[in-house]
Each structure stands twice: as structure tokens, then as C-alpha cells.
Symmetry: C2
Subunit: 167 residues, 2 copies
């Protein structure tokens, strides 16, 4: 079978791979914004999940609690839209929080529910915030204050890409 005339019998020796794992031996990949974003987002979410494991809150749950706490009585549909979550996917999310008695739904009219924190939810969120502060400090340890603000600004601009066509 006609092997490529590439002399390299070693597909990738340890050194080469070592370089691949750390440095920019990912080929052009290391210059791609989307790729860098995925890696960073994954690493940070992992740290978040581990850090908040003792209050058993995942990022999505924490964000919902934070939003409800900041906006008591907010409607499910509004909250879902604000968080960029489909309303359909929001149902089991808020359902789980309510099952744990952290939030409750209060009917506003016949078709909409306002969401509120329970005392238990507020207490848990307080603990969660303390844990999140540690997480946040660890994550931003390598960033200056101005650098952090610039990062958030850039990320928000990137999130507005939205080239979605109409269906």
C-alpha cells in the first residue's frame, strides 16, 4: 500500500504531542476564536460545577436563581428569553428548582406565572454566591481588572453575532 513518502515513522512522538497539548501545535486551531471559546468555557464550567457541587447547583440553575432573586415575580417566558433559553427547556429547569423548594410559581393571570424565591432558596443562593466568589476569583486570577472588563465587553459583542436567517 502506497504510504505517503513522509519519512516519519513516528506518527507523533511524545515531544510532539507534548507540544500539541500545551503550545500551539494544534495547527491553525489555536487561532480560532470559537475553538478558544469552547476550551475556555468548558474549563470554567468544570471549575464552576466542582466549586458549587456542595450546593448542588449547575450553571443554568445558578443563573436562574440569580435572575429571579434580582427580579422577583419575573415571568417564566421573560426569564427564559433573558437567559437565552427556550421556554420549553425552561420548564424542567424551573420544575427542579421548585421541587427542591428553592423557588415557587405564583400565577399572575390564567396563563402566566411569576417566579419567586423561597426563604430556603434565598439561603441556598447566599451560600452559592460565596462559593461562586471563590470560583470567580480563581478564574480571574490571571486577569487584571481592566482586562476583565474588556473581556466581558468583547464577549458580549461576540454574542451578538447572530447571523440567523429567517425560517
Amino acid at each position: 500500500m502506497p504510504r505517503t513518502t513522509r519519512k516519519t515513522d513516528r506518527p507523533d512522538d511524545a515531544a510532539s504531542l507534548e507540544a500539541a497539548t500545551n503550545a500551539g501545535a494544534l495547527g491553525p486551531l489555536h487561532a480560532y476564536v470559537g475553538y478558544a471559546l469552547r476550551r475556555a468555557q468548558l474549563a470554567i464550567f468544570q471549575d464552576f460545577i466542582r466549586t458549587l457541587a456542595e450546593v448542588d447547583l449547575r450553571p443554568a440553575q445558578f443563573s436562574v436563581l440569580t435572575l429571579i432573586d434580582a427580579h422577583p415575580g419575573i415571568l417564566q417566558s421573560r426569564a427564559a428569553a433573558a437567559l437565552g433559553i427556550q421556554k420549553a427547556n425552561f420548564v424542567p429547569l424551573i420544575g427542579e428548582l421548585e421541587r427542591r423548594e428553592l423557588t415557587r410559581r405564583v400565577p399572575v393571570d390564567g396563563r402566566s406565572n411569576g417566579m419567586h424565591m423561597t426563604p430556603k432558596g434565598r439561603a441556598l443562593l447566599k451560600r452559592a454566591r460565596a462559593l461562586h466568589d471563590r470560583h470567580h476569583a480563581r478564574v480571574t486570577a490571571s486577569l487584571g481588572d481592566a482586562e476583565l472588563r474588556r473581556l466581558i465587553d468583547v464577549l458580549e459583542r461576540l454574542a451578538a453575532v447572530d447571523g440567523a436567517p429567517a425560517h
Copy 2:
């Protein structure tokens, strides 16, 4: 595409939502790096997927092809590690690429496979790169060149958080 429900105007029916839209609609959320990262990463991946739909490559598949192209013969395990993918999850991924005859596995010894591009794979990757260039240009349109480099640098530092305990 969920952006369509996002209202930029102010329906002054819900006071809580009202407050939400101006002074940091999301409460403290807008200052959290992880949250901003998730939103940006989601938006960019959506754009990526739509842009590369005509070559039917998802981000993970594109990254694998790019890596193999840059490192012909790289082992599955090495590639998976370099991309931060579990080796178990890498199997159906590379399996699909091989089924489409874009890559092929060449046994190096009895237990390991080197991965290579097929001519068909190289041709598709070339097309994919052209599409990706358009995507990349659109994504980074609002960024200066220096800003982009700084962003990548910051993201790579963030990806190195890794407070993970031994696995």
C-alpha cells in the same frame, strides 16, 4: 435563532423586566465571565454550524480534520487528548469521518491507530476552510486585530484554570 424573541424595546408592563433591561438586565449575571463565555460560545457555534452546513461539518468534526491535517498519523488517543475530548467519545466522531471516507485509520501496532486524511478529506477540508474564513471574518468583524490577539491570549489563560483534582 432564539434571538428573534429578544425585545429591544421596552414593554412597560412588567416592572421587574423593565429594570432588567437597562441597568444590567441580568442582575449580577452580566459580570460573570462564565456566563458571558457561554453566551458568546453559543452564538459563535450557531454561526459556525450554519456557515459550514453545506459541507456538513460540525465544530468538533472540523477541529478533528484540522488536527489530523496538521499532524498526519497522529494517534486517536493523542488527538483526543489534544482536543480535550474523552477517548470514548472520540470513537463515534472519528468513526463517522471514516464512514464518510474523509479520514482513515492505519494500525501503528497491535493496539494503536494512526489517523490520516484521505484525498476526499483534504478536498472537503479545503472547502471547509474557505467557509470557515467567512465565518471567522463575520465573527471578528467587531474586533480589532490587536483586540483579537488579546482575546485569544486571555481565553487560553482562562482555559488553563484547571483546578481539577486528580482523575
